[in-house]
Amino acid sequence: MNTRQSSLPARSAPGHRFRSLALYSRSRGIPTALAALVCAALLTAWTASRPDAYLDPYRRVPLVALAPLLAAAATGASLHAYTRELDDTAVRRWWPRRLAHLLVLSVLASALLALAVPGHAQEFGAVAMVRNTLGAIGVTAGGAVLVGARLSWMPTTLYFSAVYLSAASPRVNNATVVSWLVQPGPQHGAWAAGLALFVTGTALCAARGARPEGPRV
């Protein structure tokens, strides 16, 4: 991507800025990620509006774990760049763009999924959905740094599965930090854990970028 400064008036025109944004979005598969987020929100809304899930908050536990998983996988996959070596030759710094990329998708995913969960917000509702979405995106972003963007779903999937299954233990369930993703809503320890994962993963990914996959992936 040619990011050299230029004094040409066309470069600073709104049309050029929009074209750059569109090119960036297309190169990262953002439309696919957005479509996945919308699908996740629609499926969540459909499942959560069924009478049993609406009346019994504990029926929404799988939802507030699965929907963030899909949103995080879509976000993680969008971090992949086919021209990483070329990108690295750019003059402009990439970390603000990566940070903006992650933040925009995180906000969008959190908002969409939170709106998709009806019922009491504090009992496996919108609050838990936002927390889990942010935490999942954080883990996925960290995973992208370690294992590459397109494989970043793997650490999140394994981590969420393990925590979800271990939460049936009263000892683990009472530890709000360890079992943060299956806490009903406003528990401080769970929020601290989710936000810490989000901040760490996002910062790491913004600073380092996804691990280059190379031609042999």
């Binding site: 598969g29 696919t32 996945a36 799988p62 699965l66 998983l69 899909l70 996988a73 879509a74 996959a77 992949h80 370690l146 294992v147 590459g148 397109r150 494989l151 779903w153 793997m154 650490p155 999937t157 394994l158 981590y159 599965s161 393990a162 925590v163 979800y164 299954l165 271990s166 049936a168 233990s169 009263p170 000892r171 683990v172 691990r211 996959e213 190379g214 031609p215 042999r216 992936v217």
Partner: protein
């Protein structure tokens, strides 16, 4: 890119293809699951010892310094050793070992976190291992297979692979089976660890080996199924969507009440020690998954795609058998209908035959209670621990299972609390409401307090008394005072006098609405 196609040589049939496996460890770079995923070419080309599989070994300098062109039939033992089998790279390098390690950690974590709930019970161990395989193993195997299936497309070597001599089915299996074996090995390792951790605390029954074998086969089948999906669907979210699909299917099928729930992969609905799976259930369940995987693989790669109908028919037959058999897939555990008893106490203490090793521990926990009831008449004959309501003349032993609450690793977690619960089983256990007469309720409380003093309950009572005093609740305070007086009178009796009084008291202790005149007063 390590995969190089060198022009020339002996023509197209002997196009030398150098792979990462041929380069040796010193030529590889990178770490992590994405590093050195350089095996597709070696697998797809079927290179074994070089030319015999259609590829020529790399030419090297001879002893006289001139380049020696290797020819067919010229391979020495040394040369064979220097060219490892391409499957070796598939096994040891690339994504498969990392996926196996990841699954191992993901399965071991919940098993360790919930160790209190299964150590000491073969049934609970089997149930949790099956649940973990269904909820973690199956979705991950589908996703990991999907990722592996899209490998050639990501590397852009699919065309190269398709040009090689081996059949597409062999190519698919050579790429899919090592991953399947790694995931299966991870599952079996966790199973072995769990069984070893359960054995020291379990005293009856044994592991359900067929369930674990069926689960392992199912995981391998799911890997192949995911591999075919990953190869067929060119979409960057195929792998995570397969995982999500696995969760949804397990959740939608596995939690249903109908017999369709038996179609959920790896989800053997064995509940604790009550039931045992019939021997063929896990294997038929594995056939259901394996048939689908084989059908998908054949439909994708076979020259005659109609052959996929055969495994598909087998899978559907297995599915029909599973659904039609329904609850017949489980049989009663004969041990659960028996109990072992200690008849040296009053009343006798019996525990279920699935936990015979718990009898001394339970007897010890109840020793204070049974000691105070020594020689008292009109008591229940025994504490029973069967999966039914107690018969007349019996009292229910407080629950030992599910594990993790009263019992952890062969020990009663709080003996005083357990004895307090056991004492309550002697005094109007089936009554939803306390007797209407206050005197009877006061007497009941005094007897329970004397039979099984429990510090937690005593603290709660002290707190209630203090609160009633602060609120000026005279009625409540009078109640507590009457309880204290009754308790004092009971403790001040002589041994014989108290034994006689308790005998008369327990004659009506099972009735929910006794006449006040029938209950002896304190």
């Amino acid at each position: 890119m390590s995969t190089r196609v060198q022009p020339g040589g002996d023509g197209p049939a002997h196009t030398p293809v150098r792979t990462g496996a041929d380069l040796g460890p010193g030529r590889r770079s990178g770490v992590g699951p994405d590093a050195d995923l350089d095996t597709s070419t070696s697998t797809s080309t079927g290179t074994g010892t070089g030319h015999e599989n259609g590829t020529a070994p790399a030419a090297g300098p001879g002893r006289d310094g001139r380049r020696r062109i290797p020819r067919p039939g010229d391979g020495s033992a040394r040369a064979r050793r220097s060219a490892p089998h391409p499957l070796r790279a598939e096994w040891l390098r690339g994504f498969a070992p990392w996926a196996g390690a990841g699954l191992l950690l993901a399965l071991a974590w919940p098993m360790a976190a919930r160790a209190d709930q299964w150590q000491g019970s073969w049934g609970a161990t089997t149930e949790l291992l099956s649940t973990a395989a269904a909820m973690i193993g199956v979705p991950f195997a589908l996703a990991a297979g999907g990722w592996q299936g899209g490998r050639e497309r990501r590397r852009r070597t699919a065309e190269l692979r398709s040009s090689t001599a081996r059949t597409p089915l062999v190519q698919l299996l050579a790429a899919a089976l090592p991953l399947a074996c790694w995931l299966t090995a991870a599952h079996l390792l966790v199973v072995a660890g769990a069984l070893a951790a359960c054995a020291p605390y379990a005293s009856a029954g044994g592991p359900a080996y067929t369930v674990f074998a069926g689960n392992a086969l199912t995981l391998a089948a799911c890997t192949v199924l995911g591999h075919t999906a990953g190869r067929a669907i060119p979409f960057r979210l195929t792998a995570p969507l397969l995982a999500i699909g696995g969760y949804v299917v397990v959740g939608a099928l596995g939690t249903r009440q109908s017999d369709v729930r038996h179609l959920a992969f790896c989800m053997a609905h064995v509940l604790g020690d009550n039931d045992l799976a019939v021997r063929w259930y896990p294997l038929v369940s594995a056939l259901w998954a394996a048939g689908l995987a084989a059908a998908a693989a054949l439909a994708l790669t076979a020259y005659r795609r109609a052959t996929a109908l055969l495994p598909l028919a087998a899978a559907l037959g297995a599915a029909v058998l599973l659904v039609s058999t329904g609850d017949g897939l489980l049989r009663d555990n004969p041990l659960a209908h028996r109990q072992v008893c200690d008849t040296s106490t009053t009343p006798d203490v019996c525990v279920n035959a699935t936990y015979p090793g718990m009898l001394p521990e339970v007897t010890r926990a109840l020793s204070g209670l049974t000691g105070r009831l020594e020689g008292v008449r009109n008591l229940p004959v025994r504490y029973e621990d069967l999966w039914r309501s107690p018969h007349p003349g019996e009292a229910q032993l407080p629950n030992l299972s599910p594990l993790g609450w009263s019992v952890v690793r062969g020990k009663v977690t709080d003996p005083r609390r357990y004895a307090w619960e056991a004492a309550h089983m002697l005094v109007r256990p089936d009554c939803e409401q306390a007797p209407t007469a206050d005197r009877i309720t006061v007497t009941d409380e005094a007897v329970l307090r004397w039979l099984a003093p429990e510090p937690g309950f005593a603290e709660l009572r002290e707190f209630s008394v203090t609160r009633a005093r602060q609120e000026g609740d005279t009625k409540r305070l009078a109640w507590y005072r009457a309880e204290d007086e009754a308790y004092a009178r009971l403790t001040s009796m002589s041994e014989g006098e108290r034994r006689s009084w308790l005998g008369r008291y327990f004659a009506t202790a099972a009735e929910c609405g006794p006449k006040p005149s029938e209950v002896p007063s304190l």
